[in-house]
Amino acid sequence: MSVLEGKELRIVGFLCNWCSYGGADTAGVGRFTQPTDLRIIRVPCSGRINPLFVMKALIGGADGVLVSGCHPRDCHYAEGNYYARRRLEVLKGLLPVLGINPSRFEYTWVSASEGQRWQHVVETFTARIHALGPAQAFAGTTGPANHNRADAMVS
């Protein structure tokens, strides 16, 4: 698996409960192998995805963010993904001016039955993020004064 060559990266996935999470499940049940960089956060609907979730992840150091919901006309709540589509499409306009490579963010639609498609989406997006490499964190953090993660390891 070429995408797993080298270090695993941190990709955050926001998946709607009804379609894409099901699709990921189908992929798992079908034993479609997938790269393991993606950390999935399940939300009720892609319409629940606040664009700030994406931004918080990216500014917080995520190497990539993937959003996936039900296909248009297929939303469990009838129209959540339509709102999501507009919000996320608009959000793409913010990334380059902030200094974040817009390729680090993508949204797509995967239904619960599309296990194979889910595999394809994850592979494609993971490969894209690996091609970009790890994201550089925003400088200007007070570091140890803020969070003593090293201390947390002491036990």
């Binding site: 007070t142 004064a145 803020n146 969070h147 003593n148 201390d151 947390a152 002491v154 036990s155």
Partner: protein
């Protein structure tokens, strides 16, 4: 500038080298232009401080950081019950020494408003702010006398002046392509010990420069009636509503103010460990006094502006020998997005109280 103190001289040419050597002993902060603002930044060794630039912000953050860690905590397994994690506290490390080179005289005077409060005057000294005191004692203030006053300056209303030495370790006055340094403290003497004494001509030029700028200031307004006036207007809701009408209650005035010393304490945690932070807080925000029950003793911006002005010109002086908690730097006026003018409010209050 007094006649008794030692005067040294440094030429502008020699300044970068001198400050680079000083930086070996601690962080040297100096004014720097960034965009349309002027901020105090650590000086890169070899760079010249931008002494002609008047800082937008005060230098209080050198002693009182915008946010600082009081202590960190981390869960450690209990010796008796290893499954139980108990927080272990670690105090933040001691700060290193610092020099502010080119502070404004109002900035230095600002710390004089902090000092009694942070020395624990409220508790009779029983509880002093160790974090502030250790930074304060390790920060040397080299004040650069102003060469002119802005429209918004009113240091002379509140006991200061463009070349006031109050609170400074060294007072620097531009003269003859360099700075005449008036040495005002032992630490200041150590800082300048390698420098030659100023010549009589240099000192004379510096004195003339100080006199020129002092003379250029408009006459100070009389504020002695302000504390009583403000106290008497506490219940004059209409007065405060009018004075605060255009205020947009952001925190620009408080955060730029050299004497505003209020803070918040909050925890940041990732679950297992975290820090307790002390960060600047702002009395103009409704959250400043909002209680968990939802009750807020100062729900309106009028209440909050009243407290802000009242604190500076009435409450604080009543606790600290009449000294205003205002150094007249005028930053709250200069940088107010809605042009609120604290001078006008205080003068209006004096007038209003006289009429009542």
């Amino acid at each position: 500038m007094s006649a008794e103190t030692v005067k040294k001289f440094i030429s502008f040419d020699a300044l970068p080298g001198f400050l680079a050597r000083a930086a070996e002993h601690g962080t040297v902060y100096a004014p720097r232009r960034e965009g349309s603002a002027v901020v105090y930044r650590p000086l890169k060794p070899g760079d010249a401080p931008e002494l002609g630039a008047r800082p937008t912000e005060s230098c209080k953050h050198v002693v009182f950081p915008r946010s600082e860690t009081l202590f960190s905590f981390a869960g450690k397994a209990d010796a008796a019950q290893p499954a139980v994690r108990r927080p272990v506290l670690t105090e933040s490390p001691e700060p290193g020494p610092a020099v502010v080179f080119g502070a404004l005289s109002c900035d230095a005077r600002g710390f004089l408003a902090f000092d009694p409060v942070y020395k624990g005057s409220g508790t009779g000294g029983a509880a002093a702010d160790t974090y502030y005191l250790r930074r304060r004692s390790r920060t040397l203030l080299v004040v650069k006398a102003c060469k002119s006053a802005l429209n918004t300056c009113f240091c002379n209303w509140v006991g200061g002046g463009p070349a006031s030495a109050q609170g400074a370790d060294v007072l620097a006055v531009e003269a003859e392509q360099g700075l005449v340094l008036d040495i005002l403290s032992e630490q200041g003497a150590i800082f300048a010990e390698t420098l030659p004494a100023a010549s009589e001509g240099q000192v004379g030029a510096a004195l003339a420069a100080v006199k020129a700028v002092e003379d250029s200031l408009p006459k100070a307004a009389e504020l002695s009636a302000a504390p009583a006036a403000l106290a008497s207007l506490f219940s004059s809701a209409e007065f405060w509503k009018n004075e605060s009408a255009h205020c947009l209650y952001c925190g620009a005035c408080t955060y730029l103010c050299p004497t505003c010393y209020c803070f918040n304490i909050t925890d940041e945690s990732d679950g297992l460990s975290g820090v307790r932070l002390r960060s600047w807080d702002n009395c103009m925000s409704p959250l400043f006094t909002l209680e968990a029950s939802g009750h807020n003793p100062r729900p309106n911006k009028a209440d909050r502006l009243k407290n802000r002005v009242g604190h500076k010109f009435s409450y604080y002086p009543s606790l600290h020998a009449g000294r205003f908690s205002c150094c007249g730097c005028g930053r709250c006026i200069k940088s107010c997005p809605s042009s609120v003018d604290i001078r006008k409010i205080v003068l209006d209050a004096v007038k209003e109280a006289a009429n009542v």
